[in-house]
Every structure is written in C-alpha cells, then in structure tokens.
Amino acid sequence: MRAVSKVKQHSIARKSLRRTLFFIVLILLAGSTFDAYNQAQLALVLILFIGVLSVTLLTGISGQLSLGQGALMAVGGYCMALLITNKGYSIWVAIPLAIVGAAIAGLLLGISAARLSGPYLAGTTLVIALAIPTLSNRFMSVLKGDEGLPVDVGYPPNWFTKLFGEPSYEQWQLYVALPFAAIALFFASNILLSRTGRMWRAIRDNETAASLSGVNFSRQKIFVFVVSATFAGLSGALYGLRGLVGPSVYPVSLSLTLLTAAVLGGIRSIFGAFIGTVIVVFLPDWIEAVLGSFELSEQVSNFMPALISSLLLILTVVINPAGVAGTHLHKHK
C-alpha cells in the first residue's frame, strides 16, 4: 500500500516537473522573441501569475473567497523592502524571508478567518486590503508612509553576465521572475495533484462530508491560507521589485485584479491562472492597438480601455463562468 502511494507521489512530482520545464522553455522562447516592452510585461505576467495562483488555491480549490490577497502581497513586499533597505540583504536572501513573513500573516489571517465563510470572509479580507496600506502612515518612521521604500532588481551578478552576456533591464526582470514563477508552478501543480489537493476540494464541495471523512476542517482551512499567503507574499515581493514598495503599489484594486484574472482564465486550474494573467496584463495593450485605428475624442478614449475590459469581463462570466481554460467544465450536471 505504502509502496504504491510512493510510486504515485513520484509520478505526481514527475508530472509537475515536466509541466514546469515546459513552462520555462515556453517563457524563454517567448522572452527571446519579444521586444523590451513585452519582455517587461511578460515579467509582470510571471509575477502576477504567482499571485493569481494564490487565488486559485484559496478560492478555486478550497472554496474560500478572499478579496484581500493584495494585502498579503503587501506584507511580502514590505518584509523584503525592509530587509533590503535596512539590513542590506540581497534580494535572494530577502525574498525567501519575505515569504516567511507573508506565511505568518497568512497564519494569523487563517486563524481569524477559519470560522468565516462566503461573503463574511470576503468582507473581512476586503477591509484588510483597505486597512493594511494605511499602516504605512501609522508607522511612518519604518514604513516611510506614502513615499514608500524604493527597491529594484538591480544588476545581474558577474557570473551571470559572463555566462549569458549582458541582459537588458527588461530581460533581467524576466530572468529574476522566472525561477520563482517556475517554483510556484511546480508547487501548485504538486499540491493540486496530490492528496492535499483532493482534501481541499473536498472541503470546497462539501464541508460536512469532508469533516466526516476525517479531514480536520479548520486546521486544513488555516493551512490553505498559509500556503496561499506564501504564494501571495512571493508575488508581492517581486511586484515591489519593479521599483517601489508603497501603499499605492498595493491598492484594493490589486486584490480584485488577481481575482479577475483567476476567474477569467478559469479559477480551478493552473493553466487558467496563467491564461487569465496574460489576459489581464496584455488586454489594455490589445485594446489600445485596436482603438488606435479609431478617431476618438480624449474624453471617450481615456475611458475606453476600462469600458471595454469591463464589458469583456461581464461577457466572459455570463457566457462561460468556468473561464477561458475551463470550457470543458461547462457541462450540465
């Protein structure tokens, strides 16, 4: 029995690894053909993809609706920025520590949220997303208020330039984000395929049945929050490395953007998370490219991207709530 499950675990890990390698190759291929701007956008996709995965795990897989993942991103970002600016740590040390910080925040949030469900959880997390950024003014001397803590990915180390040549700033952003996104993908894939993922889905689909079959319900719920916070914290740290960690980097709308990406792509799959992130990041450019051929007055053109993307959002949800990647789920019971 044990031997069998070990074999299974191996095959799960192998499958996740295969998927991750494909992902890396795909991104590197795309990155090498893209121009500088799209390389930077692709880096942004990788960063937000990790954040969207945190929504996929929390909401899509375990069924807990959070509107405050942006606040967990902020925790990750601030932890990292403080370690870099005050302690002089390199990003490679600061990011893992920031993830630990976010995981602790996720634990606290999970403990207080374990009893909440549905809109109550959504409401609480939304207010958290609103309140956390105001802490930066409350603890002005450390968190530097609205001005925030400027940080960036810096320059590649010598061994890197020796091996691969001098990358542009955009390429370097992409190369920094890629390993983290790949690790996140690997872990998310492993979780989803494993027994843990099945347990989380059981929580989502039927709380009572799950608790009857011996799942320690609230402990699992808290665990989901911690794992999800780890992903969000990593995403938030990388997001801050684009230039600044400050309250205007992690507004309430960031949390809603993550949820939007997750739902657009298909909230139950990793592939959906990726597609959704690509859509959210590139949609404004696509709209701009299309609108460029029309003569619009400034009053109209200013609001056109927001109007079109919101309309697309409604249409996608109404026509196929399972999202772009979830068409095959769209069947009658």
Partner: protein, 303 residues
Amino acid sequence: METFLAALFSGTSRGAIYALVALGLVIVWRGAGIVNFAQMGQAMFSTYIASTMITNGYSYWLGFIVAILVGAAMGALLDILVMRPLSNKKKTELLSSDSMRAAVPVIASLGILGVLQALAGIIWAAEERGFPAPYPQEGFTVANNVMPFTSFDVFVISIVLATLLATTLFFKKTGVGLAMRATALNAEVARLSGIRTNFTRSLSWGFSGAASSLAGLLITPTSNLSPNTLDLVLIIGFTAAVVGGLDSPAGSVIGGFLVGMVISFVSFYDTPEDVFLSILSVLLLVLIIRPRGIFGAKDARRV
C-alpha cells in the same frame, strides 16, 4: 462633552447613510445570494443624472425622484441582463459549489461597476463636482455650541428611517413582500407555490437600486461627485452589512449605525488616520464572536 455630542451627531447622520447602503446590499443578498459591488456605481450614475437635471434648471425634487426611479430600473435591468443569465448557469459544475456561486457574481458586479464608472467618465467627464442639499447645511446650536448636525442631517435621518420602516412594513405586510422573502429563503418552494421568482428577484434588485440611489443622493452633498467617490462608501456599507449580518435587514441598520459611530468617534477622539484599522478591528471582533454577524442566522442557509 461638546466633542462627545459632535461625534454622536456626526456618527448618527453618517451611520444612517451606511445603514441605507447596507440595506441595499442585504436586499440583493437575500433575494439573489449575490454581493453586488456595482451598487454604489449605480448610485453614482443615477446621482449624476439628478445632478445634470438640477444644473439644467429642473427642481431638486424632480431630480431626486428621477434618480431613485433610474436607480430602481437600473437594478432590475442588471438582474435581467447579467445576473439572471448567470444564475441560469447554476447547473454547470463550476457554479455547483457555494464559493463559486459567491465569487463569480462578484466578478460580474465588478465588471458592471467598471462599465458604469467608465460610462460616467465618458458622459460627464471626470471632474469632481458638488451636489446640492435640499436643506441648509448649517449646524444647530446645542448648549451654545454649533454642532455638526444640520437640517439636512435631520432630513437624511428621517428619510432613512422612513425608508427602513416602509421596507419592513412592505416585506411583512404585503403579498409581494412575502413572495420576495419566500424567494430569498427558498426559491424552489417559492416556485412550487406559484411565485414568479424571476420577477420577485428582479424586484429585489430594483428595491436595492432605489435604496442605493437614495444613499447616493444623500451622501454626495457632503462628499462630492465623481465616478469613483462612492467606492469607499460601498466598502464601508459592506462592512456594516457584514457586521450586522447579511441575512438581516434589521442587522444592516444596526451595523450601519455602529460603523458610522466607530468612524465618527475614532475621527473625533483619536485620529482619522486610524479609521480603517478600527473598522477592521470592529469587524474582526464581531465576526470572531458571531461569525455570521450580530443578527445573522446561526444556522447556515448558505455556506
């Protein structure tokens, strides 16, 4: 003492409006199981219509009534055009779990909010404008002190209380009200009783739209009008609804006044910078003791 009174008065008039916003959210939640994030977007839009009418010389009251009617129509229309087609998808596997039934309409309502804000920007430009109050905004004098409490605030509180009373009576005493409550509580039994649930559900959306438009008309005289000015009001109103219990209209009123008082007393006695943190603390405190809000049903009807 003066500060105390001032905080009390200020909290009452603000709380009344949050109560109204929360009531709008509760009506839709009960009626359709949806948290409508577009609600204050609808209010913003209908308030702009009133504002346009008033600046073009129509009377305040005509604008007032038109805005409320537009709000009601907009609510019903959103249900018919977006939410009903969405809920017809309930049979799909994705929407079979409760969390998704909560999350997907949230996304749809965010989309609606985006559309309304963009349209308002296109139609009325994004400049911030003021909105008139029908009564003077000069405070009454209590014990030789002018309080932040005006004839307009009296108007606000009385119209909100009247609305709450009328809503309660409507739900309790009329057949349509009973049909709406039945639809909200158990749609299947309601349908098997011959109630046209699609209609009653749209009616809930219409009611909620009217209530939130009223809230918009009442809050903009102190907060200005621009496509985004009511975003924060929605979040605070949502908090109030959650604190009070999303299933309970009475709870939304208590929650609204409670949150209004917290905001007011923290602003007057501590510093306005702590407002959001204190709202969060109150929310967590209430929900840790009662996970479904103060007046929320103990037994989970919806998970």
